[in-house]
């Protein structure tokens, strides 16, 4: 059935989009390394990894949430609140070894609040997480005001920034890669992952297939909150500064990379490799533009345009295919 086969390939624009993002990322890295001075150095590699770490951590959980057709705009505020809470705990003389897991648990609790309002009460996640975006950021200001807590122990902050031995591989790359692998496996090779796609493709049909859609979504928000808590720990130690405005506005970047990576905002479609590539692409692009002395304005425009193009391009391609097919049928 040759026509069938051709059609089936055409029916999967997202798979090709995925591949396109990965290819574009690879191509960009090569071109930039060749043409932008200082881009291809080991030191710059380290900087890129440190810059992408918070985006990546948040994007992992966001990918799962968007794949179920929901959204979590409160992640950056959760980072801010956990960071502020870390500052308060540190000032209270609590050991950092307790603070770090406590921050992750706090993130989980904040995520659970999102989960309760969205999955529990059935409220639209967009509105709920815009609400908690403001609420969590507000609470972090309440906790820490405009002050910063900065006297974090050098052992911890320098580990965060350091590399493995003499190699150029940053310390944080190992946990990042491990987490990316875990999320990739869960999404693509476990029953939970199958449920995530099903819940996003059609919550009704998923429920008819015995997927506990609401429970699943609730726990995904908890996971998202935990990841935001972890990001809060990373952020605090990397900049050795706990502040209420940490990671302000980062949620937009995270949503942007997830969509750019080919995850459908309507849920049910997308894959983690595409998102990982998008994270690398965006961070490396910003890095290269900075190195190439391109103005800040351009960065803003590029981010916004990429986001629109990421969704627009497959749509345009699809409608072009439709027109083409219709024409072919008419001539046939």
């Amino acid at each position: 059935m040759p026509t069938r086969l051709r059609e089936s390939a055409l029916m999967r624009p997202l798979a090709t989009w995925d591949a396109a993002v990965i290819a574009a990322t690879a191509a960009f890295l090569i071109i930039a390394a060749a043409s932008v001075e200082h881009f291809g150095t080991a030191r710059n590699f380290g900087y890129i990894v440190l810059d992408l770490a918070p985006i990546l951590l948040l994007a992992l959980a966001m990918t799962l949430i968007v794949t179920t057709g929901e959204i979590d705009l409160s992640v950056a505020s959760t980072v801010g609140l956990t960071s502020a809470a870390m500052g308060v705990m540190w000032n209270a003389g609590i050991p950092l070894e307790t603070i770090m897991p406590a921050a992750v648990l706090l993130g989980a609790a904040l995520g659970a609040v999102n989960g309760l309002f969205t999955a529990g009460f059935g409220l639209p996640s967009l509105a709920v997480t815009i609400g908690t975006l403001a609420l969590y950021r507000g609470l972090s200001y309440v906790l820490l005001g405009d002050t910063a807590v900065a006297d974090w122990p050098r052992d911890f902050t320098s580990w965060t920034l350091g590399t493995i031995g003499e190699s150029p591989i940053p310390n944080v790359l190992i946990p990042l890669a491990a987490l990316a692998a875990v999320f990739g496996l869960v999404l693509h090779a476990t029953p939970v992952g199958r449920s995530v796609y099903a819940a996003g493709a059609s919550p009704v049909a998923a429920a008819y297939a015995g997927v506990p859609v609401r429970r699943l979504k609730f726990w995904l928000y908890v996971v998202s909150g935990s990841m935001a808590g972890l990001t809060g720990v990373f952020w605090t130690l990397r900049y050795s500064s706990a502040r209420a405005d940490n990671a302000f506005g980062l949620e937009l970047t995270v949503v942007a990379v997830v969509l750019l990576g080919g995850v459908s905002i309507f849920g049910g479609k997308g894959a983690l490799p595409g998102v990982l590539a998008a994270v690398v692409l965006l961070t490396a692009l910003q890095n290269a533009l900075r190195l190439a002395h391109v103005s800040t304005e351009a960065l803003t425009v590029v981010t916004g345009s990429l986001l629109i193009v990421a969704v627009l391009a497959p749509n345009l391609a699809a409608s072009a295919r439709r027109t083409l097919r219709a024409r072919r049928r008419r001539t046939a």
């Binding site: 059935m1 069938r4 086969l5 059609e7 089936s8 029916m11 999967r12 496996l185 090779a189 476990t190 029953p191 992952g193 199958r194 449920s195 796609y197 099903a198 493709a201 059609s202 009704v204 049909a205 998923a206 429920a207 008819y208 297939a209 015995g210 997927v211 506990p212 049910g268 479609k269 049928r329």
Partner: protein, 515 residues
């Protein structure tokens, strides 16, 4: 069969003018791999009510949507007053005088009843502003004409299906349409409501409107229509004056094959009761339901749309929680509102709406076919894809599903093959109780026969089958017992010998005696 004869006013068949008000000629339409229409013909004359009959999936709804300007035909032409036209949207069709009342009312819940009738055509007063008082007056006048009492100023949210239908009808009447298309308008109406509707339709016809009437109820068709067109598998079969054909002839043309070929004969002794439902109540269901299904038995749940059949099976499976009552499988109680528990107990539900409830249209056939077995196919918690591929290939092959690749999106399949994927998905769980809700809706005749054979075979293997169906032929052909529901309760039970079209309809509509 003459159930609704009393409804008919004196019908004087009108030969109609030579040029039809509206006509479809050689119309074809396909959606992806699905050929919805291949060669449809239809001529509608002013002052005539024209019946369009055919099985589900024969292409009637697609035909109507083409007439309504919603779809553009791939081939063939539309003519209005003998002139060829092309509709580039619903507005163009409406401008040509075509009004359509769809099977499922599509209202704006946030707008008022009157606005729903007049949307886009609201009467205007000063400065072009909407004159709400006038609009409400006109709506009230329409309702008076229809003989119903609805508050024009209340929001459409929360209205019953029948009331929503009435709003649609009022909307169609309000434009004085030259062509009025009604897609099963009475499916959800009570006898009184239907009768009132027929009065209105008669009035319109006498005023010169061309009416296209689609119905599964031959009593209505006989009483109301002067001409009848039969469609099968997307193509025109025949058009005759109503009094020139018998209902049996029409059925024969619709099905296209003998009764026996459609419904395999089967004789097995039913075993012990597997599924027992006792005094089940739930929100959205007016009454209380008790019944049981035995191993090796096919029990049909019949009734009008809105009688609560789907609500019952959803509560049994646990999609919706029940308010009270028990559901037992093999004597063990199922918890309320937990489909996972029902599945674990060996219950499978092939839901009513394949596209919304049965399938994840954007996901692959493989994912769909193995979704319910995602946990049992995992090894050490991981799914590598190999087991899923093997399983999906095996079950789709067993059901003779036709597809290009297992990775194709389920939405690209034809209706019949989609239904096979849903069946494959559930049969792979080896169910003890198989609940099928409208198992052959919208699929072609050949696949229908396959599905029927499959259900028979399953019953013969000792599976307890509970079937919800709106197709009387299917109910009568398949069921060992028929439970007829009306207004949320079981109005009566008929065994195979006593179940006839007439006896079922009588229970379903709550009529005491045949007219």
């Amino acid at each position: 069969m003459r159930l609704g004869a009393s409804l008919a006013a004196e019908i004087q068949p009108d030969p109609g003018p030579a040029v039809p008000v509206a006509a479809l000629r050689g119309v074809a339409k396909r959606f992806g791999a699905v050929k919805a229409l291949t060669d449809a013909h239809l001529e509608l004359h002013g002052g005539e009510t024209h019946a369009l009959v055919g099985e589900n999936g024969a292409g009637k709804s697609t035909l109507i949507k083409i007439l309504a300007g919603l779809y553009r035909p791939d081939a063939g032409s539309i003519e209005i007053d003998g002139r060829r036209v092309e509709f580039d949207g619903t507005a163009a069709a409406a401008a040509a005088g075509i009004a359509v009342i769809y099977q499922e009312p599509a209202l704006f819940g946030d707008l008022t009843v009157a606005e729903n009738i007049f949307i886009g055509r609201q009467p205007r007063g000063r400065f072009g502003m909407i004159d709400r008082a006038e609009m409400n007056r006109r709506a009230a006048a329409l309702f008076e004409r229809l003989g119903v009492a609805l508050d024009p100023d209340r929001p459409a949210k929360g209205l019953s299906i029948a009331d929503q239908q009435l709003i649609e009808i009022a909307g169609a009447i309000s434009v004085d349409a030259r062509v009025l298309v009604m897609d099963e308008p009475t499916a959800a109406l009570s006898g009184v409501e239907a009768e009132r509707l027929f009065g209105v339709v008669e009035g319109l016809r006498e005023a010169g409107t061309a009416v296209l009437f689609i119905s599964h109820r031959f009593d209505e068709v006989e009483a109301l229509c002067q001409r009848v067109t039969v469609m099968r598998d997307g193509a025109h079969v025949s058009t005759d004056p109503m009094d020139a054909v018998t209902v049996d002839e029409l059925i024969g043309r619709m099905v296209g094959r003998s009764f026996e070929a459609m419904f395999p004969h089967r004789s097995t002794e039913p075993g012990p009761a597997v599924l027992e439902v006792d005094r089940l109540r739930r929100g959205g269901l007016a009454g209380e339901v008790s019944f049981s299904v035995r191993a090796g038995e096919i029990v049909a749940l019949a009734g009008l749309v809105g009688a609560g059949r789907s609500e019952v099976v959803q509560a049994v499976f646990g999609i919706e929680p029940r308010d009270s009552g028990t559901v037992r499988v093999d004597g063990r109680r199922l918890p309320s509102g937990r489909p996972q528990a029902a599945m674990a107990a060996g219950v499978a539900l092939v839901p009513e709406d394949r596209r919304q409830q049965g399938l994840l249209l954007d996901l692959s056939i493989m994912r769909n076919a193995t979704l319910v077995r995602r946990k049992s196919l995992a090894r050490f918690g991981f799914l590598t894809g190999r087991a899923e591929r093997r399983e999906a290939a095996e079950w789709t092959a067993r059901l003779r599903t036709r597809y290009g690749s297992l990775h194709d999106a389920a939405g690209t399949l034809s209706g019949g093959n989609q239904q096979k994927v849903v069946l494959a998905k559930w049969l792979s769980t080896d169910p003890k109780v198989l609940i099928v809700d409208e198992p052959t809706r919208g699929i072609d005749v050949a696949t229908k026969a396959e599905v029927h054979r499959l259900l028979s075979d399953l019953a013969a293997d000792g599976v307890a089958v509970l079937m919800v169906s709106s197709e009387l032929l299917e109910v009568l052909g398949m069921a060992d017992r028929v439970l007829v529901m009306r207004e949320g309760s079981i109005a009566g039970e008929l065994d195979r010998d006593r179940a006839t079209e007439e006896s079922v309809m009588r229970l379903a509509t709550g009529q005491e005696a045949p007219a």
